[in-house]
Symmetry: C2
Subunit: 363 residues, 2 copies
């Protein structure tokens, strides 16, 4: 039994963990927000909360987002929890859900826990192909498409604007995981599918896991007021008075005080430096945002075969196939996370990985 | 949009809310625990947590409970959340779940959200009838029986020890909602079904909602290590690193510092006084624990017909039928909560209720 999920393996500079660098978690600022919340709201911070989330957080969030109303907002215990709730509400066992290829691998289990069948949406090297996806969705009567279109996991890349516009016009119900939007290191993020399409075609999952702290288990769903109401009426949401009331109200204080904006600005600087350390050492293009580099391996080097070689060289990663539902693709790529190690560690990990690739390629 | 679930209705001394009295929520002590947690654990309080809960909480809790191991413990976001997770794992749509009659009404929606069919277990004025329940469970192939056997909601009463012993011997899988155990005002609570039967026959739901604060959304499940492992492997639990990590670690500090024991001792004093104010004014027997009085109405007075009369007299309650799955029973009882109002308010509410009953009875 341990405290945290992360397990340090001695001798490894591990690029596999999509976790924040511990030094970047806002320990002192969150402590201040907690004390401030209990001082300001008193017992209201500890009582049964409002089912869709406490008004101070919802109001701050809608103001911050600029593209959603309070009636379109439901506070969750994180994006993963939001996806689980949506799947429970929207899908029946046996239904088909389309998933981008590649996409966030831990979403697969969240979806299949509800008995749905996963089918990979067609994509090329720039991302999802809207017309082909729409045809597949119609032929399979898919209940929705799940994707991370902005600074995505695992690719770090964003779906191009023309494909976004096309995707929201082809009539596929979309669940947009928008977890990485705030972490942009150059050009601002492209517009969310939610912003382009509105509540008719898109449900958006947001999260404070990457911008503040994953241990808080706090995020939100933007959806039509009808769907928000259905979420609020879920038995355990009603019974519990929302899903994470005290933390949600603390986040309202963290936002209103300006701590959120200051913290995210600092994260952008820090993660940009970490990104540059990794991509500079590997001599590969830098993604515009997020936490990941999707590294193409030399011809003849297989991601899963490379893994033990890399670990012998003192580094690790996640092989590409885990990001394709059902597997059988992606063996020419690996996902490297630059979120968890400091710049010097990333540069050293890159050197070890390069040596491992050379060894695996027989160079 | 508001902050909390509770809505004050002007002029009403409302006995309907099963909520803690605001003055009894540990605002200052929880604030100290929060600061202490971030000081002690630093980034570990904010990172992705261990899937079954952080070790410091699990260890303190098992020590406190004295009848469960760490391998038998999974930290939840409250008892309602625990019931939702168990239902998702154990039941298929169309399965039958037996529920005590009467029992906690908000559990019904949690269960039916997963498509199960609710059937009322046979009971008399002392509670559930074990042999008859076992026969019904077998005939319907029920996946489990849900009940609140100790200081129960809505009755305040506990299943007698002989029925407990019989119930754990008749082979019905049991989900024991043990939310009110700590709130005993006289004799200690009878042994939990979990303690009598162990992990083979019982899953126990625990909660910090009544003992510390409902807005924290924190509780636990005691179950077999196999079931705990299945809970930990749920996609959204694994993805999120547990379900409420930062709050769970704060509760570990609250427990280890002695604040939990001090707070619960104070609650017992306060709620005993509140209980006595209500039962004394009504001249009815006092329950040994929990938050509720299950008041038998005079012959000819119907609970639902009484409700508008009571509200005209400036008080309110929950009518008995809401606590029977499917309704159609319980109209001779009302549930009165003594958790939410101070003693003077409870005495006045009792006087108003007595006047309303007299009016409804035509006296």
């Amino acid at each position: 039994m341990t405290i945290v999920q992360f397990e340090h393996r001695p001798g490894l500079l591990d690029l596999g963990w999509g976790h924040p660098r511990p030094e970047l978690l806002p320990v002192d600022a969150w402590s201040r927000a907690g004390a401030q919340t209990l001082g300001t709201y008193g017992w209201q911070a500890l009582a049964y909360g409002h089912a869709t989330g406490p008004a101070p957080l919802v109001d701050w969030l809608c103001d911050h987002l600029g593209d959603a109303t309070a009636e379109q907002t439901f506070v969750t215990a994180g994006a993963s929890h939001g996806l689980a709730l949506l799947t429970q509400l929207l899908a029946e066992p046996g239904d088909v859900v389309l998933v981008d290829s590649p996409t966030y691998h831990l979403a697969f289990k969240i979806l299949t826990d509800h008995g749905v069948r996963l089918v990979r949406a067609p994509a090329d090297e720039h991302g999802l192909l809207p017309a082909e996806t729409a045809a597949l969705a119609r032929s399979l009567d898919a209940v929705f498409l799940y994707l991370v279109p902005t600074f995505g996991n695992p690719t770090g890349r964003s779906l191009p604007l023309d494909r976004r516009r096309e995707l929201v016009s082809v009539g596929v119900p979309i669940v947009e995981d928008d977890t990485y939007r705030e972490l942009s290191y150059g050009e601002p993020a492209p517009p969310a599918l939610w912003r382009l399409a509105g509540e008719e075609g898109v449900v958006r999952l947001g999260s404070f896991a990457k911008t503040v702290a994953p241990g808080l288990r706090l995020g939100w769903i933007n959806a039509s007021p009808i769907l928000v109401e259905r979420l609020a009426r879920l038995g355990y949401v009603h019974s519990g008075g929302g899903v994470n009331h005290a933390v949600a109200l603390t986040m309202a204080s963290f936002g209103a005080s300006g701590a959120y904006d200051r913290h995210v600005a600092g994260l952008r600087e820090a993660y940009r430096e970490q990104r540059d350390a990794l991509t500079g050492a590997l001599r590969v293009p830098a993604p515009d945002g997020g936490w990941f580099v999707w590294l193409r391996l030399p011809d003849g080097v297989d991601a899963e075969a490379l893994l033990p070689v890399a670990e012998e060289h003192g580094t690790s990663f996640l092989p590409g196939p885990v990001f394709y539902a059902g597997g059988g693709a992606g063996s020419e790529h690996v996902r490297l996370s630059f979120s968890h190690l400091p710049p010097a560690g990333l540069a050293e990990a890159a050197a070890r990985l390069t040596a491992a690739i050379d060894a695996a390629a027989g160079r």
